[in-house]
Amino acid sequence: MPEHGEYSDALPAYALGALSDDEVTRLKHHLDECPECRAGLEWLRAGVEVLPASVPQIEAPPELKRRLMAVVEAEAELLRAGGASADRPEAARRRWWSSPSAARLAVGAAALCVAAIAVVLAVSAGGTGTRTVSAQTTLAGARASLQVRGTRAELVVTGLPALAADHVEEIWVKRGSAPAAPAGTFVLGSGSVAVARPVRPGDLVLVTVEPRDGTAAPTTAPVIVARI
């Protein structure tokens, strides 16, 4: 086992991020037990902070903020749409694991924190008055988008995994702070389905997995979300 002095010698490299993973693991164990090294590390870290502060300042591209905020705002909406259950993902996840559609919903609550497929809003189809709105989906390998023309929207999906027996996908339209309103059900791997409610800019279109006849309000976390 290394001596204290060897750990102490490794502190500058640790503060700079220049240790191997194994070395980091060993040093962390030592730091848990050694207040002297912890104090030494804190002192050195203030020196390390000079480095990022010394970098020439370059403006971040505006499109970076647009991409980032599109994802952040969609996830914030998901949190609000999920209500109290969204604030308790562990409890929600246990409930979903016990359902027949567990395999599809495993990513459900965690989806609030899982990397989302990039949102690209409002890509014009040009000339036809129809525009394509890309959606986020938490389902691995799946893709989804909306074709929007006026107040009508059609959901286009590819690669949705098979549903458990007696379950359907249910579409919802959520406007502002109003509860999500049901807008049709479907069972589809790839294809398109009409959103059975008018939509307008700012609406969220969500898809959840529900029992065969659909429900009056979402009972699971959305697996697809798009903002008109």
């Binding site: 002192w43 902070e49 970098v55």
Partner: protein, 199 residues
């Protein structure tokens, strides 16, 4: 209904300190996150670019980092440092992860060169002017180090190399690399006394 990114965050949010904003972000407040982003985006992107050396890679690192901050805001602990320090730490870790996937040649080149195609942030506000001045003074501290000390800390921090890799690259004993790292950090730490803090 949440406001969209087309409208600026409420003025009240802009008057809050970073730590208070992070409390709101942890509860899913996208507008509070937007203010945090606006305050630290330039520093974060600049650091990512300094490490990656490629704009597209820097954008990807910055985006991943801020999403991690949004999703992991509850893990921010104000007793362990400022929000800015935390943000830059997240960016640094992710940028180093990215560059460690690159070839040694690409990494060495990136750590050797300052950004070649700089588009420096315009000095639009007093805060941005102060940041620019701070960057210049901090750079002067780094530039004041003896060359061999500056080299090892830049290869480590900006190049993502481990101390053993640096020893091999420079054909220098590992013990020498370690002592150069320590001396460099001690000098920089002493230079920012008495506060030891970089806002």
């Amino acid at each position: 209904m949440a406001k969209t990114s087309n409208s600026p965050p409420p003025a009240g949010l802009r008057q809050l300190g970073d730590e208070d904003l992070m409390g709101l972000v942890a509860r899913g407040d996208a507008r509070a996150f937007e203010v945090v982003y606006e305050r630290h985006a330039t520093a974060a992107f600049s650091l990512a670019y300094r490490i990656c050396g490629i704009r597209a890679a820097a954008e990807e690192v910055a985006q991943e980092s801020f999403l991690a901050i949004w999703r992991g805001a509850a893990r921010y602990d104000r007793t362990r440092g400022s929000v800015r320090t935390w943000v830059l730490s997240v960016v640094h870790n992710r940028a180093v992860d990215a560059i460690r996937r690159a070839t040694t040649h690409e990494r060495r080149r990136a750590s050797d060169e300052h950004a070649a195609e700089l588009i420096e942030a315009p000095e639009r506000t007093d805060v941005e002017i102060a940041r620019r001045e701070e960057a210049r003074s901090m750079r002067a501290l780094v530039d004041a180090l003896p060359g061999e000390q500056r080299r090892v800390i830049e290869l480590a921090y900006f190049g993502g190399f481990t101390q053993e890799q640096i020893a091999r690259l420079l054909e220098t004993p590992l013990g020498t690399v370690k002592s150069r790292m320590r001396l460099a950090l001690e000098k920089m730490r002493a230079s920012i006394e008495p506060t030891g803090a970089i806002s």
